[in-house]
Each structure stands twice: as C-alpha cells, then as structure tokens.
C-alpha cells in the first residue's frame, strides 16, 4: 500500500527522475508480456529487477532501449518521451544497454571493440574520416583499466573468457558515458571471484549515473541493490529495499509457492 502511495506522490513531478516508466504495455498477438507497468529510477540509483523466468524483465529493457516497440504507455528519460525514438537516438540521449549473452565483436581486438563504442564519428562520413587521436586512445586505455582488461588490449575479443567478455561489453557501454546503464544478467556464467570483482566494478561505475540490473543471483543482488523491483507476469509485484521485498508475502509465494 505504502509503495503505491509513494508512487502516486512521485508521479506529480516525474521530471526529477532519470527514468519514469508509466502504464507500459506490450502485447505479442494478444499475449501481454509487459502489462501496465510503472516504475521510477532516481539519480545514481542501482535498481535491480528480479522475478521468475518469463516475468518480462528482459522485455522491459528491450522496450526502454527501443528494441521492442510498446503497445501502450510512456517511457520518459529525464522528462523526455522516448517511446517513439529510434534505437540510436535513444543511445545518443544517454542510455546504454548490455545484452544477456555477451555481445561483442569477436573478430575485432579489445582495443577496436572499445574504440568503436567511443561516442564520436557515429554517422557514415564521421566513421569514414575517424581518426585514432590521443583523446580516443586515452579513453580506451582508461576504460580497459576499469574493466580489468588493460593487458589484453591487442587480443582478439573472441578469445576472451566468458567473464571477460561480459566485462568488455560493460566497458563498451562505459566509454559512451551513459547517464542510464542497463545490464541484463551481468554475472551470469561468472566464477565467484569474478562476481565479486563485478560487484565492485558496478559500485564504482555508478558514480554520476543510474543503473538498472536484471539478476537472478540473490547474493549479488543484496551486494549491489539500492532498491529492488520484483516482476511477475508482466507486472510489478513488489518494490522497495531488499529487506522489504524479501519479507513480502506475495514475493515469497511467487518464488516458493506452487
């Protein structure tokens, strides 16, 4: 109840949020994968979305970054409606998104992967006459250091380990300096040591930006989450601190019931 009141109160001044999603619905031939969903993300917040398989978590990210078009509802990024924007315009606006399976350019080197992601020369002729100058070089090296890959710059990305690929993709987003970072299962398939490093990485990179993370690993969620949104059948089931969500009857039923 209280959460709902909170939301009502917040709705009035949506501009203060980095991201406000309201009444978002998408239907695939009648099946509503996301159904009248609303949530709000604040500045410098790490928001984790959890929920059982098929709850619509990835679809929400698809909708925000423009990969899937919503049937109804609005998504505002810093007060600006983005539901009608093209994918690259949304990226230019400052939203970066990491996919569930690491998607990097396997035929290119780590350096080239990061360089391509550097936000300059993004149109045809810009790319044609792009020069690898000191600014680019510095940004690439700095990012590589952040993602623990500074000694791998010249390796072909296809040869990296699974965890390193995940970091590389995060790095490819970081170099764009997005204001909102969306990560889909960033630690899936990582070793325990890698998970710890990733948690540390996430905590470090949230300075100055908001982050939305989808994750299944509850320990990891506890480590990083400021707030947690639980989704079930395309709707928000519960929202709040990890502590609150963990003790929510409805959440317990969905996760442990049946």
């Amino acid at each position: 109840m209280q959460a709902q009141e909170n939301q009502q109160a917040r709705k009035s001044d949506a501009r203060d949020f980095v991201l406000s999603v309201e009444g978002l619905t998408v239907s695939f031939d009648g099946f509503k994968a996301v159904n009248d969903l609303s949530f709000y993300v604040e500045e410098e917040e790490i928001r984790v979305i959890i929920g059982p398989n098929g709850a619509g978590k990835t679809t929400v990210l698809d909708l925000i970054c423009g990969k899937t078009r919503s049937t109804e509802g609005s998504i505002k990024f810093r007060g600006k409606e983005i539901t009608k924007q093209k994918e690259h315009q949304i990226v230019h606006g400052g939203i970066g998104r990491k996919f569930q399976n690491p998607s990097i350019y396997e035929d290119l080197t780590v350096y080239e992967n990061l360089e391509i992601s550097f936000p300059r020369g993004r149109n045809v002729f810009g790319a044609l006459f792009f020069k690898r100058d000191d600014e680019v070089d510095a940004a690439v090296r700095e990012t590589a250091e952040t993602i623990f890959l500074d000694d791998q710059l010249d390796s072909v990305a296809g040869l990296l380990s699974h965890g390193q690929k995940q970091w590389l993709e995060i790095g490819m987003l970081l170099i764009q300096k997005p204001e909102l970072l969306m990560l889909d299962e960033p630690v899936a398939g990582m070793s325990v040591a890698e998970r710890k490093k990733t948690a540390e990485l996430l905590n470090r990179i949230t300075k100055g930006r908001a982050v939305i993370v989808i994750e299944h690993d509850m320990q990891f969620v506890e480590d990083i989450a400021h707030r947690v949104t639980v989704m079930h059948q395309g709707k928000v089931l519960s929202e709040g601190s990890m502590e609150r969500v963990k003790n929510d009857e409805k959440v317990i039923e969905v996760y442990l019931g049946h």
Binding site: C65, V91, H92, D107, R122, V124, L128
Partner: protein
C-alpha cells in the same frame, strides 16, 4: 591526404601487393599478350570492379546482392546511349526512314528520339549519369530494404528479382533499349575511333587505372573505422545499433559504393567491347559476378581482382575447347568454393603461401644479420 596518414592506412604489405598488381596489369600483361587477348583481359577487368564492390558489400558488410548486374548494366547502358547517339548522326543513318535516331528505333517504327535519350547527346551528362543513376538506384533500394531491416537471403532474393525485372523490361521495350541484342555498333567517342588497336590499348590502360583507383578507395574504406564497423555489424548487429549507430546507413553506404564501382565497370565494358546488352544485366551474369568474388576470396580486395581474372580466363579457355564441360566446371566451382574454400584464393594464399614467403624472408634476413654481426665481430 597527408603522407603520414597514407602510411598509416597502407602497410608495407599493401604497398607490395598494389605494386605487384600494378606491374602485372600495366607491364607484364601488355608485354606478353597480343591486343586481342589484352582486350579480353580488359573485359575481364571490368567485372573486377563488380567483384571489388562485392567484397565491400558481401565480405565486409555481410549483404549479398545477387543483382549487381543491374548496376553494371545501368553504367554500361548510359555509356552506350551516348556512343550510340554519336554513331547515329543524320549523315550515316540517311537510309533509315527517320534519319538521326538509333537504327533499332527506326526498325521498331519509332520516329522521334524518346525524351530520356535526349540528354545523352552531352558527354558530361553521360559521364555523370554513369555514376549517379546506378548509385541513386542503389540508394533507393538500400533505403527501402535496410531501413526496414531486410537482409540476408531476403535481400538476395529481392535484388535477384530486380535484376530479373530490369532484364525483362529491357528486352520487352526494344524500341527504346535495343531489346535482346542490346545497343550495338558503337564507333566513336567524340570523333575518336574506339575500334582501332591503339584505342584499345588506351582504353585498357584507362580501365586498369580506374580499377586501381577503386582498389585504393576500397582499401581506404576497409581500413577506416567504417570498415571495422562493418565487421562489427557482421558479428553483432544489435550491439552496433545499441552503441548509437544507425546501422542501415552504413549498409546503404557500402551498397551504393558497390553499385558505383559496378557502374564504372559497366561503362568501361561498353567502351572496350563496343556494345552493351541485357545478357550482362540479368540473374545469371549477376550471380556469376558473385562467384568471381568468392573464388578470389570474399574478404580480400586483391583476391577479388585475381579471382575475376582466373575464373574468366578459365571460362574462355574451357568454352573455346569444351563448351559442354564449362557449366559443369562452373557448377563445381560454386559448390567447391562455398563448401571447401569459403575464403577463396586469398584464404589459400594467406594460410599456405604467405607464411612460406615470410619464413624465407626471415631466414634471409637472419642470415644477413649473422653476416653483418660476424663482420662486425671481425672488425
């Protein structure tokens, strides 16, 4: 472009390869072949323009066009229209019922030059049209297809359908296009007879020069960030899109470049062979041009040129002596290259020949170094 960035783009390897190719085209072939054979090589090289464009579109961009003959044809026809008008002056066509128009129009009871032929009296217009018409056409196709994310086999089939449409149109409208025979009997370019041996030499050299220009342009494109983006798109198109690039624009760009290259090839074909016909536009020639590129190696700019030369040389030799075997050989080539050698001649070169050469080179160098150090030790 400054010399420094030129050096950054072209490694010493590239300079060697370009040098070898230039020597072959400009010196070795003209030295050893008579003008008839050299003219034939010139004809093959016009297909190499198409293969070069395909390396960019297919090898780098991952978009396979089975309709490159359309652009080759449009370029060739634009050139042919100018030459035909020059050949159809009222004096030499005075036996026709309407003098001053191309002969095939007269045969088809057309009494007035169609409006779209008029501007081709001007050479500058014709030269512009050679590049602009096919590129514009490619742009329209590209926007319609790539902006709606049509790709892969769908794109291949639709380009094939377009090639088929254009062929049927050209053959069907013979009063305007010369029909199945094409535009033939071309004689002079601004009064300069293009059928003489000396003209054929000059046109051959012009063709080689233009090919090298296109090769350098292609190399510049592949070595730029745009080239790396194309490779990246092949690996993960969504990642490129969500890194803030409008993926469609890059595909449209390479497709247009490929079309422009093909069109230059077509125009050079018309000049060197002296006619243009729908048999270079349709489905069969278009897909054959793909195999030139595949044999050379779809990822290799140099391979495209050698592949075109090798396949066409084989085609000529075969069809002169065993015409019925050629289709078998061609079919086997399609199957063999795709199944066993997807990287083509360039792949064979880089996995067998190049390491051998490099090894030898290193051995030579280390021997020299040994000698030098031995001498130094003696001193």
């Amino acid at each position: 472009m400054s010399f420094v960035s030129f050096r950054a783009t072209f490694s010493r390897h590239d300079l060697v390869y370009i040098g070898i190719l230039a020597a072959l085209l400009f010196a070795i072939l003209p030295l050893f072949l008579d003008i008839f054979r050299l003219n034939l090589v010139g004809k093959y090289l016009t297909y190499a323009f198409v293969a070069l464009g395909l390396v960019l579109c297919w090898g780098y961009g991952g978009i396979l066009s089975l309709g490159q003959g359309v652009f080759f044809g449009l370029g060739g026809y634009a050139m042919a229209m100018f030459l035909k008008l020059e050949a159809s002056d009222p004096e030499s066509t005075k036996i026709q019922s309407t003098p001053g128009i191309p002969d095939f129009m007269d045969w088809n009871q057309i009494t007035e030059l169609p409006w779209f032929w008029e501007p081709f009296y001007s050479l500058p217009f014709a030269l512009l049209a050679i590049i602009i018409v096919p590129t514009l056409f490619a742009y329209i196709i590209g926007v319609a297809m790539f902006k709606r994310r049509v790709g892969g086999v769908y794109f291949a089939i639709i380009t094939q359908a377009i090639a088929s449409i254009l062929t049927i149109l050209i053959i069907g409208q013979q009063g305007y296009t010369g029909g199945v025979n094409g535009i033939t009997d071309l004689r002079t370019l601004l009064g300069w007879d293009i059928r003489t041996d000396s003209a054929k030499y000059i046109l051959y050299y012009l063709c080689c020069f233009l090919l090298l220009v296109c090769l350098v342009l292609a190399k510049l494109i592949t070595k730029s960030k745009l080239g790396r983006l194309l490779v990246a798109m092949r690996d993960s198109e969504d990642r490129v899109r969500f890194s803030g690039y409008d993926v469609a624009n890059f595909k449209i760009f390479v497709f247009c470049v490929g079309a422009a290259f093909a069109a230059i090839g077509g125009a050079m074909f018309t000049l060197q062979v002296g006619f243009m016909s729908p048999s270079f536009v349709g489905i069969v020639p278009s897909i054959e041009m793909v195999i030139f590129c595949a044999v050379g190696g779809r990822f290799s700019i140099y391979g495209a040129i050698y592949g075109t030369l090798v396949v066409n040389w084989a085609k000529t030799t075969f069809s002169e002596s065993f015409p019925e075997l050629w289709l078998f050989a061609m079919g086997a080539l399609f199957i063999g290259v795709t199944m066993s050698f997807p990287r083509g001649l360039a792949g064979l070169y880089s996995s067998y020949v190049e390491p051998f050469i490099l090894n030898r080179w290193k051995q030579l160098k280390s021997k020299q170094n040994l000698k030098v150090s031995a001498e130094q030790a003696r001193v």
